[in-house]
Amino acid sequence: MNYNVNEKGYYGEFGGAFIPEMLYPNVEELRQNYLKVMAEPSFQQEFNQLLKDYVGRPSPLYFAKRLSEKYNTKIYLKREDLNHTGAHKINNTIGQILMAKRLGKTRIIAETGAGQHGVATATVCALMGLECIVYMGEIDIARQAPNVARMKMLGASVIPAKSGSRTLKDATNEAIRDWINNPVNTHYIIGSAIGPHPYPDMVTRFQSVISEEIKSQLKEHEGRENPDYVVACIGGGSNAAGTYYHFLHEEDVNIIAVEAAGHGVDSGESAATSILGKEGVIHGCKTLLMQTNDGQITEPYSISAGLDYPGVGPMHAHLCKTGRAEFMAITDDDAMNAGLELCKLEGIIPAIESSHALAIFEQKPFKPDDVVVVSLSGRGDKDLQNYIDYFKI
């Protein structure tokens, strides 16, 4: 079984490029060039240098001793929260800004949910001196105020998406409309492993540094490259795609994908796409999608803005359909408690997105000698208000 994209842009039956003709020249230009550009030695050199000196990579693989004791297994945390800007998102934006420059683009647009991708995009635009416009749902702007302020300080314009559920899905719609209106000078930095081909593959490749590092770091810790489990939370699925990438075809590595159940999978307020979704087309790709019987996209819910998305990337849809990955759904409450537990046991305040991945230990037993690597995709600074409100701190 192949879990990577094929030459037509599909992962099994999922993927493709379902885009209006207005976007065809842009997407086609990218499709024809992305692998070539990424393979250029000068690109590799600049990308790796920035990851090292600017982002602070490699991010540590940390053995969480007290957490491991509590759950009687060996838990390692891949510390993407320690990256510059506080999450894994910067890996991809560094890659895409270098891509945009090589394609001669002068204006950058992006969508953002939790604001982490918006901040990461605004950051690299400041670094490269390019104009930056970030679309963000009106509701997310309200619940992620610190990130909105960060983007503005970094020189980006933040434009509220006021249609639909006014969250990540709608911000993405607005960014796509912007790209339709600005087809020549603009590059759209998609933050998740979604969108028309080649975006899911390109984003995955830029994020694959996560699993590349896990391999060599685990070798140092445990004397072996492959853990028994890799675990990551999934909204659109960029941190997950990067965490899994180098393990996709390693059969001894179990893959766990953690979705947001919101108030519960059957509550009507959830973002558990693998359970609630069926095949459909969103934002340019065919994937698993939460929708009505009539094919209208439904409004998801999660306490975590970064997981509040009605689809998953096409690679993840394929991993789900083929059974390669085990999908779990974690409620708001369980995620919040797992987040607080990490604070108390390890002195790390995680992003609420990442807390979902940590919550699986209450639900799923592991063996004492299992090595479980969890992607700690982001830090919790941006979520402080949510934690304060939730725990009445």
């Binding site: 639909g164 709608d170 209106n181």
Partner: protein
């Protein structure tokens, strides 16, 4: 011969009007179609509303949201249209995004369209190559014409390819934009209209996006065989309701 093919053989400049089904009220669909035909419109595009219309500006987005709130569904639209061929002869095109059609089943959707007497479809997010490889045979079976878009950025080679697999008309998007975002045509657009006219394509072109009055209609049709009005008509329906359609059509030509 399909009604679209008959219509484009007429020696006249064609006025095509788009409206969103279920807007302003759920059951306005048939009345609007009958009134548009009565007032001399040549083609009608019936918009099947979608929750996430990527290629549309605020006017058509809002009408789609309202239509869905009013209760419009694919099945409801088909029910409203089931006797439409008893009262009108105008070519009818359903314009909608791909996901609702995919959920209905592409073949079932096409079959239903043929039964009702729909002549063609416009599906902005179904790419030409996917249509060509996976769905063209179904469209052909049911005698449906699929209309493709071209834009100022579409290469000549791709336009030739689109022309080769089209059998009705080509929807010429006037500028790089979503619907309803501009008015009036500049030199750049006129040069583009002329470039396409000079290509001598086998399918006639009908211009859409940016047509909102007599002036823009006349400019567009001086290069192409027809023009499509969408957002401007939706605005008219929002402001004046459904009983002054005659007035609107008269302001165009």
């Amino acid at each position: 011969m399909n009604r679209i093919q008959q219509k484009i053989q007429e020696d006249k400049k064609l006025l095509s009007i788009y409206f969103t089904a279920g807007y302003p009220n759920l059951n306005d669909t048939v009345t609007i179609i009958e009134d548009l035909e009565k007032n001399g419109v040549d083609l009608i595009e019936i918009g099947l509303p979608f929750s996430d219309p990527l290629a549309d500006g605020p006017t058509i987005q809002d009408s789609s949201t309202k239509a869905l709130k009013n209760g419009m569904t694919t099945e409801t639209l088909f029910n409203q249209l089931k006797d439409i061929r008893k009262t009108v002869n105008i070519p009818l095109i359903i314009m909608g995004y791909f996901n609702p059609m995919l959920q209905y089943g592409v073949e079932a959707f096409c079959k239903k369209c043929a039964e009702i007497g729909i002549d063609g479809l416009i599906i902005p997010d179904l790419p030409v190559d996917v249509y060509h490889e996976e769905y063209k045979a179904i469209f052909d079976t049911y005698g449906l014409i699929n209309v493709f878009l071209i834009t100022p950025q579409t290469s000549d080679d791709r336009i030739r390819f689109i022309d080769s697999i089209s059998n009705g008309f080509i929807y010429m998007v006037s500028s790089a934009s979503v619907t309803g975002s501009q008015s009036g045509f500049g030199d750049e657009q006129k040069a583009y209209f002329k470039r396409i006219a000079d290509m001598q394509l086998k399918n006639p072109q009908i211009v859409g996006f940016g047509i909102n009055n007599n002036d823009t209609f006349a400019q567009a049709t001086s290069y192409a065989q027809g023009a499509i009005i969408g957002s401007a008509f939706i605005k008219h329906l929002t402001e004046k309701g459904t009983n002054q359609i005659e007035k609107f059509v008269k302001t165009i030509r």
